[in-house]
């Protein structure tokens, strides 16, 4: 039936109705039924509704499903309508949605969503009809008018009749649920979009530099150069881009985690995806963001600082890098092979080898084995380069502190990562060919994994922070226009941290049934970390003394680092103390602590490094105003993000769960304000994420049209400020390498006793070798 027909029919019905109302007193009950009375009521049966009639609708659901048919019964009680009357009653039922259908001849339709009685139905007190729900999902209102009729004929027709009204609402199901979205598809889409945007930017920059460059003859060598280069600067840039890219990916995952945690019992991504996201967030941030960023700066700056033309094994260096993106692909491939790894970055055995863990754990382990290989090769390369390729005049104790920090970090990494590699290979074999290293039933020992992992894992977190120490030492000295205070104690302190890092890992296993004696020893050694770290902080502070601090963006990040890293260091002192550790272990206090040292330490340190060395790397000065904006927004939102986590940890909110429990009448759990604080943290997380877009915008903007950078914009002393910005290739003429002079005459370019011993250790035939370079 088309619309016009319905409309015209309605008009006809309405005019009949109007006529009926005019002649109302003369009718007893309207045999044809009543219509259009939704708002006015049945004034043909009395002017006002009467309490003595009770109308009711039954058979309606509380909320309906789309396009489902329900049997609806309308009825009334009370009033004069009684068996034996000429007429008993009538009704009008109106609905705001859906459609009615008749089931017998006692009812009729007045349009799709209005029904009334028929002549036959005039003698009844209840009527049944069918209502088919709409699929809009909106709430549907029903209005029923029922008349109770005394059936008297003649002039007094409807006198004495009574009517009443009943209303009902059937809840809808809301808008139809959107199709299920896989959070990983969202993540993948974001990554693809970022990659497309990034390549557009790269192509645009390329175009700006050389508008004719898109001719194949010019483009092919350019892209081939990037893909096959062994130049330390190009590889450094590749590492740097990879690091920033995965910092973004890890950040997006953190945002999803924070949305999930913004309120208790949230089901934004749910437990399955939450578990994968926090695992991949940790793995990505440590191995695919922090480590490549460090390797990027190490590649760029170390050869420049020691006055070498390149690293001594350039091809090995290229291999180290190209293992990284492949490893990243493997780690994320797990997502498509039956679910990404859901073990936490620590991957505790035996869960990591059980069938309840996702199949993607195998890929995750495989990818990390490649990263172990990459890190080992990087370690060999840097240790060798720093040992043999220093410029003339540069003894061990004339090396810039950033180079020292890379040396110590790589030494730590080189000595610790094999243990991790062994553990990963065991896990991989357990999962793929059925060995039983971690099968408890077959005598496997779950604590073996904990030992192997943390023997690597604890030095690893220092591997990530020590290069930041190097950056801060460089930046603070240059910004304060002073020599670094206590150069040698800085080196010893870093070496001390490197040494201590190997004997403290037990504190990660405090609650794994350690012997009390060992617990005490680990408590003491863990506390010992504070001593060399304290030396470094106090030396940095003393460096500023008597200087003249120039405030640039990198200076701001350095001062920000000093604040956050000191706070992170102080909160770290709470864990070795047993009485507190058993309370704080695995809570958000730990999360707050390590984000204070890893973000407030490493990331802030590397932000300082970006602002400090970006002019050297690209030949363009970064925009200081955008930089200050980045620092202010970043620093404030960062603290609002991680500081409240301390308190959540103290009241017992535990890590690695996608939901949390608020105290009820029955049991104690988290206080009620914990939910609000989590919301605050989530909001701050988004602000912190957004603040970093200032950095990205700054880098792209200045790359396209930035002020040209001089060779030494900040007034540093080390060799990287000697060559032009950006440096030529090879960075220094191999036949005319720079020579370091020393402002301190008494040192006379001679390494000290320990330096000589160490040098002999690193290079068997030092005199002959040094001469030939």
């Amino acid at each position: 039936m088309n619309k016009d027909a319905v409309m015209s029919r309605r008009l006809v019905i309405l005019s009949i109705l109007a006529l009926a109302m005019v002649v109302a007193p003369s009718v007893t009950s309207l045999p044809s039924g009543i219509s259009g009375v939704k708002d006015t009521g049945c004034n043909c049966h009395g002017t006002a509704a009467s309490d003595s009639v009770t109308a009711s609708i039954s058979g309606l659901p509380e909320s309906y499903n789309a396009s489902t048919t329900y049997a609806v019964t309308v009825s009334f009680t009370g009033g004069p309508g009684d068996e034996g009357n000429a007429n008993v009653g009538g009704f009008n039922l109106w609905a705001s949605g859906g459609s009615f259908a008749t089931v017998d001849s006692s009812t009729q339709l007045m349009g799709a969503s209005e029904a009334t009685h028929t002549v036959e139905g005039n003698d009844q007190r209840s009527w049944t009809l069918e209502w088919t729900s709409p699929d809009s999902g909106d709430d549907v209102a029903f209005v029923l008018h029922a008349n109770s009729v005394n059936g008297n004929e003649g002039d007094s027709g409807s006198s004495g009749d009574m009517w009443n009204k009943a209303e009902a609402t059937v809840l809808g199901f809301g808008p139809p649920p959107p199709p299920e979205v896989d959070p990983f598809k969202v993540l993948a889409t974001l990554i693809v979009v970022s990659a497309v945007l990034l390549s557009i930017v790269v192509l645009y920059v390329f175009y700006r530099n050389n508008p004719d460059g898109f001719e194949w003859e010019k483009f092919a060598p350019w892209i081939t150069e990037w893909l096959t280069s062994t130049d330390h600067k190009k590889i450094g840039t590749l590492y740097f881009v990879q690091g920033l890219f995965f910092l973004g990916v890890g950040g997006i995952m953190a945002m999803m985690i924070r949305v999930q945690l913004s309120s208790p019992g949230n089901d934004f991504i749910g437990q399955d995806y939450y578990n994968q996201f926090f695992t991949l967030h940790g793995t990505t941030m440590i191995f695919l963001a922090a480590m490549p960023l460090i390797a990027g700066f190490a590649n760029w700056i170390v050869p420049l600082q020691i006055g070498a033309a390149d690293l001594v094994f350039p091809r090995l260096n290229a291999l180290s890098f190209w293992l990284q993106p492949v490893a990243a692909l493997l780690i994320f491939t797990g997502v498509f092979s039956g679910g990404g790894a859901d073990t936490g970055w620590t991957g505790y055995a035996p869960y990591v080898v059980t069938e309840t863990a996702h199949a993607g754990v195998s890929m995750w382990a495989a990818g990390q084995i490649m990263l172990v290989a990459s890190s080992t090769l990087t370690g060999i390369n840097f240790l060798t380069t720093i040992a043999v390729a220093r410029a003339e005049g540069m003894g061990w104790f004339q090396m810039p502190l950033f180079t020292w920090s890379i040396l110590i970090a790589n030494l730590m990494l080189f000595l610790s990562i094999p243990a991790f590699g062994v553990g990963l290979i065991q896990v991989f074999l357990d999962r793929t060919i059925g060995t039983a290293f971690y099968d408890v039933a077959a005598g496997g020992d779950p604590l073996l994994w904990s030992h192997l992992f943390w023997y690597f894992g604890h030095p690893e977190v220092y591997v990530v922070i020590v290069p930041a120490f190097g950056v801060i030492s460089e930046v603070i000295a240059t910004s304060a226009r002073r020599s670094i205070f206590g150069y040698k104690s800085m080196v010893y302190a870093m070496a001390g941290i490197g040494l201590v890092s190997f004997i403290v890992y037990g504190h990660h296993m405090f609650t794994s049934g350690m012997s009390p004696t060992l617990r005490f020893v680990t408590m003491l050694t863990t506390m010992l970390v504070a001593v060399p770290t304290g030396i470094k902080v106090f030396n940095w502070l003393k460096t500023m003394h008597g200087g003249s601090l120039v405030y640039r963006t990198h200076t701001l990040w350095t001062l920000g680092f000093l604040v956050t890293f000191t706070l992170g260091g102080i909160s770290g002192m709470f864990f070795p103390s047993m009485g507190m550790d058993v309370h704080l272990h695995e809570t958000y206090f730990v999360v707050a602590h390590f984000h204070y040292v890893l973000v407030g330490g490493t990331v802030f340190g590397f932000y300082a490094a970006i602002y400090y060395w970006y002019p050297k790397m690209t030949g363009r000065m970064l925009d200081e105003r955008l930089g200050v904006l980045h620092f202010l927004t970043g620093f404030i939102s960062y603290n609002a993000l991680f500081w409240p986590m301390h308190r959540l940890g103290v009241v017992g909110m535990i890590r690695r769960t996608h939901t949390y429990y608020i105290t009820t009448d029955d049991f104690q759990a988290l206080p009620e304000w914990a939910a609000d604080w989590n919301m605050l943290i989530s909001i701050s997380a988004f602000l912190f994420f957004a603040s970093n877009l200032f950095l990205v915008a700054n880098m792209i903007k200045t790359l396209v049209r930035g002020e040209k950078a001089p060779a030494d914009p900040w007034g540093g002393w080390s060799f990287e400020w000697m060559c032009s910005s950006p440096p030529p290739t090879p960075s220094f003429d191999p036949h005319n390498l720079p020579v370091l002079t020393d402002a301190n005459e008494h040192v006379a370019n001679e390494p000290g006793r320990w330096g000589k011993w160490f040098q002999r250790l690193m290079v068997a035939d030092d005199a002959a070798e040094e001469g030939s370079h």
């Binding site: 019992g265 405030y551 002192m573 309370h583 009241v651 049991f667 002393w717």
Partner: protein
């Protein structure tokens, strides 16, 4: 404060005091120097005559450096010292040398109390068993009488979870076992946790000093329903 034991409170206050002390020195110093020694014109006098390609003039002071090596060292020795006794208390040995004596004979009560230093001391303890399995806890009262230990079920956010009824004034030693992967018993109400490692039998003290009821959680990631691996512990009067 919810879920904080007296033992934890005592240490916490000491540590906060020292943290504030250290932070005040570091930040006071930082803010003073970064304000007082700032460069006014942005163009700065080159204090140490830094120039490119020349290793800068040495700037150090052995006395100062030794000072801030030795003083922090003394501080950490002190902090280790004050954490030593809590170490013994948290993982107290059983028997006469420990804080909780030997196992109670039938009908004997622990009569535990908190001493002046915030340590729980008892005359004897009762053994119970806690087994972890993906993803629920299983309590075992062993041979204890109904009033000392009983198990039941509680409703936590609409789901049925195990409930362990303990008695105030009694000290329990839980024997932790796992049937599959590593879990961890986190008892915020007692301020204690310990891993539940398959193939090992670890112990956890549960000193029930006062009436309380709290949620026990799993604190070591163990798979899909890890967050829902909860139980309720009620300490009755």
């Amino acid at each position: 404060m919810a879920g904080v034991t007296p033992l934890y409170d005592a240490l916490w206050e000491d540590y906060i005091l020292w943290s504030v002390f250290v932070a005040a020195i570091a930040f006071g110093w930082l803010y003073h120097h970064s304000y007082f020694y700032r460069s006014d014109d942005g163009e700065s006098p080159n204090v140490d005559n830094i120039e490119v390609g020349v290793f800068p003039r040495e700037y150090d002071n052995l006395r100062l450096e030794v000072t801030w090596t030795v003083l922090p060292f003394i501080l950490i020795v002190w902090l280790t010292y004050i954490s030593w006794a809590p170490l013994d208390a948290v993982w107290s040995q059983t028997g006469d040398d420990g804080f909780h004596g030997g196992e109670c004979a039938e009908g004997e009560s622990s009569e535990n109390y908190i001493d002046d230093d915030g340590y729980v001391r008892s005359t004897c303890y009762h053994e119970i068993g806690i087994a972890g399995q993906q993803w629920f806890w299983d309590f075992d009262c062993m041979e204890l009488s109904e009033d000392l230990c009983s198990t039941d079920f509680a409703i936590v956010e609409g789901e049925t979870k195990p409930l362990l009824n303990l008695k105030a004034g009694e000290t329990y030693l839980a024997i932790l076992t796992s049937l599959d992967v590593t879990h961890a018993v986190k008892n915020p109400g007692f301020g204690m946790m310990e891993d539940v490692v398959p193939g090992y039998e670890l112990n956890l003290w549960m000193p029930a000093t006062e009436e309380t009821s709290f949620l026990m959680l799993c604190a070591e990631f163990c798979g899909d329903n890890h967050a829902y691996m909860t139980a309720q512990i009620t300490v009755n009067g």
